[in-house]
């Protein structure tokens, strides 16, 4: 075991997968001596060479499409967008080309590209550098979306995303890059993307589904509420949004009878709405109260400290939990 941050876990996962499979390649901006904008690619080019860690000019549209061609040529590209927001330029390559490779080839070809998207707040970077993008892609059949939070999960599920044969968005949050925990030196088994939900803590009175910084804030808020009310709260980290582990959430809600969903992306059309719909469709009989969503405000992210007005805080999570418990 060793103490490891999310940032280090990302780096380790790539070292592990590049060593395990020589067809794994990385592409993006500043991936060479700089080691990527966030340092997550540190040492990779030095170890694996320029033909496996491809440093591109600033052309996200171009290298997104390039990655699909390389995948069809037998490679397994990891494609970094410096900020998840910049994926707007890669949209065609992901949504129109990568997602349709299998379908338009009659189920013959796969497109094993991992698109890496550091997203959300925490950097105080404003409107074009802080968005949460998972819902932009959740409506596109053919894609998978992986969104772990803790260092151990980031390492395991990043490796799983790279190994998956379908185009996969690996979304992590910049605000939690510094999160640390003890991580095993060796990963016993690279996990499946199926049934990836994890019960972070058990409880009897409310189920909360949350990921990324929302999960961190929910944990803090739940501890306060439990102490103040004596109620117990079950927290689920889905870790993978598509394919979503519905069963773990349904089973929990059938036990607690209450649900809250939390994320930093705006509420309107957010992935939380999807989770909530599934639960209402499948657990209506067991629900004792209307489910609650706590999410980002449906607005534009301002610069600097002002971003705090957009994202749900620990207090917002607490208010949501109390509302859901009523």
């Amino acid at each position: 075991m060793s103490e490891m941050s999310v940032m280090k876990a990302l780096n380790l996962a790539m070292f592990e997968e590049m060593a395990a499979d020589e067809k794994v390649i990385c592409m993006g901006e500043d991936l060479g001596k700089q080691g990527g904008c966030w340092g997550t690619f540190t040492g990779l080019q030095e170890k694996f060479g320029e033909n496996r860690v491809l440093e591109f000019p600033i052309l996200e549209a171009g290298y997104t499409l390039f990655s699909v061609g390389a995948a069809l040529g037998g490679y397994r590209p990891i494609v970094e967008f410096m900020f998840a927001d910049f994926v707007t330029l890669g949209f065609e390559g992901i949504v129109d080309i990568a997602a349709k490779i299998r379908f338009n080839s009659g189920g013959v070809d796969s497109c094993p590209v991992t698109f890496v998207l550091p997203q959300g707040g925490g950097g105080k970077s404003g409107a074009h550098h802080s968005q949460s993008v998972e819902a932009w892609f959740a409506n596109v059949p053919g894609l998978k979306i992986v969104a772990p939070t803790t260092p151990a999960d980031v390492r395991a599920y990043y490796r799983a995303a790279i190994r998956d044969d379908d185009p996969t968005l690996f979304i992590y949050q910049r605000a939690t890059m510094g999160l640390t925990e003890e991580v095993p030196d060796e990963l016993d088994e690279v996990p499946s993307l199926q049934k990836a939900g994890k019960i972070v803590k058990t409880g009897a009175d409310l189920t909360v589904v949350a990921y990324h910084r929302a999960l961190v804030n929910v944990k803090a808020a739940a501890a306060q509420v439990e102490e103040e009310t004596g109620k117990t709260i079950e927290i689920i980290d889905p870790r993978v949004l598509i394919p979503f582990d519905k069963e773990i959430v349904f089973d929990s809600v059938k036990k607690t009878g209450r649900l809250m969903v939390a994320h930093e992306a705006p509420e309107r059309g957010g992935f939380g709405a999807q989770i909530l719909s599934w639960v209402v469709e499948n657990c209506m009989k067991e629900l004792k109260a209307a489910p609650v969503r706590v999410s980002g405000v449906n607005s534009i992210i301002p610069f600097g400290d002002l971003e705090k007005y957009l994202y749900p805080s620990v207090e917002d999570m607490k208010a949501g939990i109390l509302k859901a418990l009523k």
């Binding site: 499409l65 069809l72 129109d96």
Partner: protein, 330 residues
């Protein structure tokens, strides 16, 4: 470059095949047998014939897409019957008639995925060309065609930049038919020759007469050789679209006086004259070639039309969307 009489006659056979295919597509669309807006190659047959000649003559293997009007090249890659069946949306198609001719994809036959929004496949093919080069596959290249319209798209510049920077084995091919849907080329680019854009990336670029299949074949062969030596380059061929953007397009945006005398601008007639002057073609051969090409294409259409369309289960097959691990649920 010299082409043998045999090669020239094969080239003639391909130009006629393109013409017949174009005519049949128009006929089948008007009789309601083909769905969607298909773009027939009428007027541009020399382009496909030239490309095919180059592909057949060279030992270089190409992987690429085609412009929508180079259907003869698509059919050559994926096979005539699978191509026609896909065009008709029938189960004998290269994707069971499910993706359709304009989303054609058949990697085992060198057909890389087509894209609906134009511009992107140049960069996609560059990625494939990178893989070929990185795997040390000699004399295998990416073939990246687009029309005059698509190359205004930013992704094409990104693709040329990447290709030149990484010295990729790729030939960028511009089929300039003078018009993008309704917009004439002079309203799309300030350049006289679109191949001049290659200079911005320190690549070679040539422009040739796209209504002369020999000139097209020579330019493509040269471009393929350069590409195989990791020298990406641009070949532009200038031709003319006879039909509208789609079959039935009234073309209100265009001066249609060219239609009064199509014979004088016809690339097929022009090539026939040339081959007759060389003494290798006569009216009898012309009739025979047309008859045999028509027979093959009509048989392809008949066979395609005798097939079923895909079932709901085939269309909604989970394995057609995901490779694994998605829980078996669409």
């Amino acid at each position: 470059m010299n082409f043998s009489n045999e090669e020239l006659l094969d080239m003639y056979s391909d130009i006629v095949k393109s013409r017949v295919l174009g005519e049949k597509i128009v006929e089948y669309i008007f009789s309601g047998k083909i769905a969607g807006a298909i773009h027939p190659c009428l007027g541009q047959e020399a382009v496909s014939a030239g490309i095919l000649t180059a592909f057949k003559k060279s030992d270089i293997i190409t992987y690429g897409t085609e412009t929508h009007r180079a259907q003869t090249v698509m059919a050559h890659r994926v096979g005539w019957k699978p191509f026609i069946a896909e065009l008709l949306g029938r189960t004998g198609g290269c994707n069971d008639g499910i993706s359709g001719e304009y989303h054609i994809h058949d990697l085992k036959n060198g057909q890389l995925p087509a894209a609906g929004a134009l511009g992107g496949t140049w960069a996609e093919i560059a990625g494939f060309a990178w893989a070929l080069k990185n795997d040390g596959k000699k004399r295998q290249i990416g073939f990246a065609p687009y029309g005059d319209g698509a190359i205004s798209q930013g992704a094409t510049y990104e693709a040329m930049n990447i290709a030149a920077l990484f010295k990729l084995p790729i030939l960028f091919f511009i089929e300039n038919n003078g018009i993008a849907m309704s917009t004439p080329v002079e309203n799309q680019s300030p350049l006289e020759n679109l191949a001049d854009r290659a200079a911005a990336f320190n690549m070679k670029g040539v422009t040739v007469d796209g209504d002369d299949p020999v000139a097209v074949a020579e330019a493509v062969l040269n471009g393929m050789e350069l590409a195989a030596n990791n020298e990406p380059n641009v070949v532009e061929v200038k031709t003319m679209r006879w039909e509208g953007h789609y079959v039935g397009d009234p073309q209100k945006y265009r001066d249609l006086s060219y239609k009064e005398d199509l014979v004088s601008i016809c690339p097929v007639v022009r090539f026939e004259k040339r081959l007759k002057a060389l003494g290798i073609l006569d009216d009898e051969i012309i009739k025979a070639v047309r008859a045999s090409q028509t027979k093959e294409i009509v048989e392809g259409f008949d066979e395609g039309l005798s097939q079923n369309v895909a079932t709901k289960e085939q269309v909604l097959d989970y394995n057609r969307v995901y490779s694994n691990n998605a829980g078996g649920e669409l």
